[in-house]
Amino acid sequence: MFGLIDCNNFYASCERLFRPDLANRPVVVLSNNDGCIIARSNEAKALGIGMGTPYFKQESLIRKHDVAVFSSNYPLYGDISQRVMDVLMRLEPDVEVYSIDEAFIRLPAGKPCDLETRGLFLKANVQKHTGIPVSIGLGPTKTLAKIANRFAKKNPATAGVFSISDRQSLDSLLAAVDIADIWGIGRRHAARLKNQGIHTALQLKNCGDSWLRKQLTVTGLRTAMELRGVPCISLEKSVPARKSICTSRSFGQPVHTLGDLQEAVASYATQAAYKLRSGRLRTTVVDVFIRTNSFKKDEPQYCNRRTFTLPAPSSHTATLIKVALASLKTIYRTGYRYQKAGVLLNGLVPENYEQLQLFHAPGPRHTLLMKAVDEINKRWGRDTIQPAAAGIAKEWRFRQMKKSPAYTTRWSELPIAKASFPESFSMA
């Protein structure tokens, strides 16, 4: 049996953790540039605030219903996510961390009631230890566990835990699942299947194998098998090695000078180099790209990228900045309002993999310097030491007007526990 543990409205739940006053208030969380709504509490969903909708389009609704709005606070979400996974790993031997807010587990087959009891136990523990509500779906395959999870979330009668175990109820359940909501069926495939009259998970399950393989390749056939209760996708416990690292952001406002772009690119290169080092990796290929806002049809459009291959693998910030800025200079054109820039690192190799180089002997001084910089930034906060090229004011930086404190990752931003009169307590 497989289980899927999914945190309910994860980012919104994290924002509520240290703000009990938000318990029944609608909460939304915005994307990186405060652009779109990327998480909603149940109350916000009930108001009809759509997932992924631009913030400005919902502003009047948000004001009218006193919705609490937050910029995304990834240090907080990352820390809470790790806590949720730690609790699960302490209780279950087979856990696959699937995303920031989801984990698969593998359980020995058992009676449905025993499985649900186990699910309720896990749910209660995660809730108690971390304060994050989760839903749990159980099924004979990962795909069915996903469907069970969705069912648990949508039906309050399940108390947040639902197990698909007997075959009879399976078909009636699958008949109610839209094909677009099946794990592994992309939007394009869903649209094509609907054109051919396949609308539900039950219909997909009953399609012939050769037809499925022809329409959806072997991946689609695998999904159908999983719907039939035949496990085809196993638990992946080791994280596959990273193949590339990308650091890119939309700017807070359009940028047109080379100077601002240089600051942004240097700053992304700095972050990317740090990611490399924390993964004990080095890069051999540095890609830089810039582009204008393609949604602004009335403005002149431009986008370009430049790839640079390093003579030897490196994770040295200054080296990466140097090549990134040189690439940027060759693709920069005046007269455009740039909306986004990024640094993409490819051809990653492990730190200990050294190609013998005649002219580019790797310097131990680089390694020691980077280690010192990383230690300092770890202890005193990000960007305590940063290359001057990355800029100080960072006028181009994305907007984050409503960010909550880094409650769990900075000593200076700890949550406050009052040891005084509650605010509404009358002193008289």
Partner: protein
């Protein structure tokens, strides 16, 4: 005289342990010197160093740090601006110092329970206790296990 002796006994130091320093900066082999002296006679008796985390944090996933604002708990040794170690995995019982949700705020109080009443007590005569009944549902956020303040 007697009193003085008592106090001396109270504040006497029983044992001293070396502190742990977790951060390290390993050096490449060729940069470090070679020890050519006599091996230390203490080598066979080396114990591991003590890590404060081990003492203060029993359950890392469930442990949070919060900052205290106010002096209503000074009687419990909790001062304004202290950092509290809060373990959510512990079940609160009567006498526990807890972080409770009062009027939507996180509040430090001592939980006092018996079979017919429940209250959140302050540890400072200037502050009243908070009686808990069916009208005011009680939510305990976590149990405080240590207070950290500088002396």
């Amino acid at each position: 005289m007697n009193k003085h002796l008592d106090r001396e006994k109270q504040s006497s130091i029983k044992e001293i342990f070396p502190a742990a320093c977790e951060t390290s900066l390993p050096r490449p082999l060729f940069l470090s010197g070679v020890s050519a002296g006599f091996p230390s006679p203490a080598d066979d008796y080396l114990d591991r160093k003590l890590d404060l985390n081990e003492h203060l944090v029993k359950n890392p996933a469930a442990t949070f740090f919060v900052r205290v604002a106010g002096d209503s708990m000074i009687g419990a040794g909790i001062n304004d601006n202290d950092i509290l170690v809060v373990d959510r995995s512990i079940d609160p019982c009567s006498g526990s110092v807890v972080i409770a949700v009062v009027n939507g705020e996180l509040t430090v109080k001592r939980l006092m329970k018996n079979k017919d009443s429940c209250r959140l007590a302050a540890e400072n005569p200037d502050y009243p206790d908070l009686e808990i009944d069916e009208e005011t549902p009680l939510e305990i956020w976590g149990v405080a296990t240590f207070a950290i303040h500088s002396l």
